[in-house]
Symmetry: D3
Subunit: 188 residues, 6 copies
């Protein structure tokens, strides 16, 4: 699994990065990958993946976010995509905890003091599994009615360092999951 | 996913419960299930699943443990089995955290103060995925050289309550993972 | 598997209901489901699934039909979709037989006295299996050259009762199939 | 799918024919196949597949049965195995109906006048799906408490003809299922 | 696996034949198939499958080619599609070798005297695996900078005979692969 | 994919190396791997995988062979295992060709001057795909009636060099197959 942290520029997230091969098309990164970047978030309705959000006419937006786009080329399976997503979110909470931030994970959502820190979606394409995680840098530009919080409010000011370390934590977690899957004999 | 917490008796774990349909054969629990029970742990060499342990001639034992046997009848996939296992372990840490216990998760191992609280394995049978998690009640009877800790040392004295609540937490987590997997449209 | 019988209004079938998540998008029904409704049938060419029909320039229409849209979120597999479809059709014939109607099933078609009672299609989306079954209420509005028959001609006047009972029969059949799949050990 | 009807000799069924490649090992029949034969039925406990039967200490036996062993080398999937089984049983009922025998199908069981005509099991091996169907020729030698019926009691005296025609009906049904699965475009 | 060699007319290849069911839609050939035809090649950008080519702004064209469109309705799997493609290319080299032509295979490319003889792509649709192989008849009309060679330059003048024999070689190779997959028992 | 060439000692092949995780159990090589070693070949009947050989009571033996044991932890699929096997065999022929040896491949067999150079088998375990290829070093100790040939007779005297180079050729071929599978968009 390759990790690419994009530091030199901002990339806005409109939802289209959830399509298969986005990492390869845009950065030449082939195979399993995590791309970490920073930018505005404003998901176009036609790119929305969560039908629950679509049914509720929700908006998904934030002025400044750290984004993770993860693609895994195993047999596409919605249950595996959803499980990997929750594990990455749990991992993110564990990293934040080490940094002294108390979080509450509810499925794929992270809350700090009842305020929403993150958004996330996981799905399959016909060739891969795709996960998006977005973490607010500041609680600005979020939809009305959402009580949000961002890294800045949590005292995490070095955003590039956060991008690097969490990206690496995701990569290590996945490699551990993968490695463990190949060292066990099957059961009767 | 059905949850069965066995309160009225002790069941020792010798590793054979990792086989497919153990829950149905022994308790008539059909389909996806979590069986929680308490008993000694002493895994027979011929039942050991982790080849790394086998290669290292490790012993897997403890005098008193809470055991979880999870079986999921989705398409058997070692990567999914391994991912689900890590997610359940992360969930266990989250529950412990709410109860004031500080843990460190390393893959599928849980540590408290550098002491090992748990053991776990995940694999597939030809029809299902199987996960075992064992949590020390007391740090007794563990292999030499293992610095262990148990629930009692952590101040968790109501073991039945722990079994019930963690079993339910696993069940809820899995149902959330499953539900989310069916509410997202596929990506191009 | 959830069953929803829509009684309070008519819904026309133009073929678009064969897309994944139609039940969730339109009725909030998540996961495996059977939606039963009544309405006109006129499948748009761009929604036609059966390439044999497309090649033959067939029309698929009827003025009044009972429709079943079934979605199953197991690993998408065209052979499983096609097998489930035939089983549901066979089940429908069995129910009709109990009601005194003699049918002849040819694959996914049902005939009574050499007259066509039903249409059906089964396919996969990238996340699910989808089946449509349509049963004529009256033999009106069908394509030229098709000798059709409807429930009314068979003496089945209580269409809502028919919708309810056949929907439930499908649901029970699927649950039996699913249950049986999890109570058998694998063979060498 | 190849069909082999064994006419020249009796073969007893002890359950071991449910293993993968039985048709190839014993008759050189490679690939998807239906083998039809006649013989005693007495399933050894260690060959029993249905854990429900094992839990209930059921015996599975009959003095004279027509047996079908079906093997399909598609991606092994317990749900597909179970669905195919029900479809074949439904087909058998349809053939009997044409011959004037009124049956009642309950899942994978066939009843005539509340008497049990057949037994069946479906499972997977690591490489294939396997189905066994057994139809009583006479209601003799069945377990105590089972009210059975056989082909002879139904007026079907030409057992070889029955073996041939039902074998062919199964073959045709499967080929139709398979053919249909490849003539439909996928749905969004 | 059906083989259809189209002799009576030319068909140009613009890339759209890579879509699922092309053989059935256009020639009524159902199921696993190889369609061999001859015609110009000029792949439209929107039909290009190889993202590496897209990223490099490559053109894919030739004035006269023998084309093979192969479709296989097994469980769609990109690794299997890619492996089958390489095997067919290796087979083509073996046939050419028997005819006295020395080739060098690099993955899915065939070179003769460092000149490119062929193009190829392999991918999946949601229901099948698809492979295109194109072999230059003459080294004309190829993109600038590509040093190409064609069958004519290799002394292969009877193009129809080449189409027939290579088509049959592919068919035989696939049937051998398939047959072998069903005659081996599984390993522990 | 890891490559391990065992140079310092001989290992006899009795067929048991075809089991899953053999490379990890014996050499600590985790994940996709090719293990190349040299030794006697004498496959025990209970380890034979090819049922065709079992039915024909064939012996599989040779006094001195180069062995390749390949394990791939993708979704186990007998068709993929069989296709990979043929591709590796074709690759071996290509390497031999570069070295001036004229071979004829028939499926998974290699002939030189109508003499058999190699044996091979491919199958699945419940967690992986496994391939064995054996190449005679000398044509000695082979079953009666088999007209064999070995590397020595072909003028290939540096067996270690052969092991190294062919092992690397297999590794490169697989990596190319894998890489290509992830750089193509899916087709409609």
């Amino acid at each position: 699994m390759k990790l690419l942290v994009i530091r030199d520029r901002r990339i806005n997230y409109d939802g289209s990065a959830i399509r298969s091969h986005w990492a390869y098309r845009n950065f030449g990164v082939l195979g399993d990958s995590i791309i970490v970047f920073r930018g505005k978030c404003d998901v176009k309705v036609e790119e929305m993946i969560d039908i629950e959000d679509l049914r509720a006419n929700k908006e998904i937006k934030s002025d400044d976010m750290v984004h993770y786009i993860i693609e895994i080329f195993d047999f596409p399976n919605i249950l595996l995509a959803s499980t990997l997503q929750k594990l990455f979110i749990a991992k993110l909470c564990e990293v934040l905890h080490i940094w002294g931030v108390e979080t509450l994970r509810k499925g794929d959502d992270i809350y700090v003091d009842d305020k929403k820190l993150s958004i996330s979606i996981a799905t399959v394409s016909p060739v891969s599994m795709k996960i998006h995680i977005g973490v607010n840098v500041k609680a600005e530009g979020v939809p009305k009615g959402v009580d949000a919080i961002g890294l800045k409010e949590l005292g995490i000011d070095d955003v590039e360092d956060f991008m690097e370390k969490t990206g690496r934590a995701f990569q290590e977690e996945f490699l551990k999951v993968k490695k463990d899957s190949m060292k066990v004999r099957w059961a009767e």
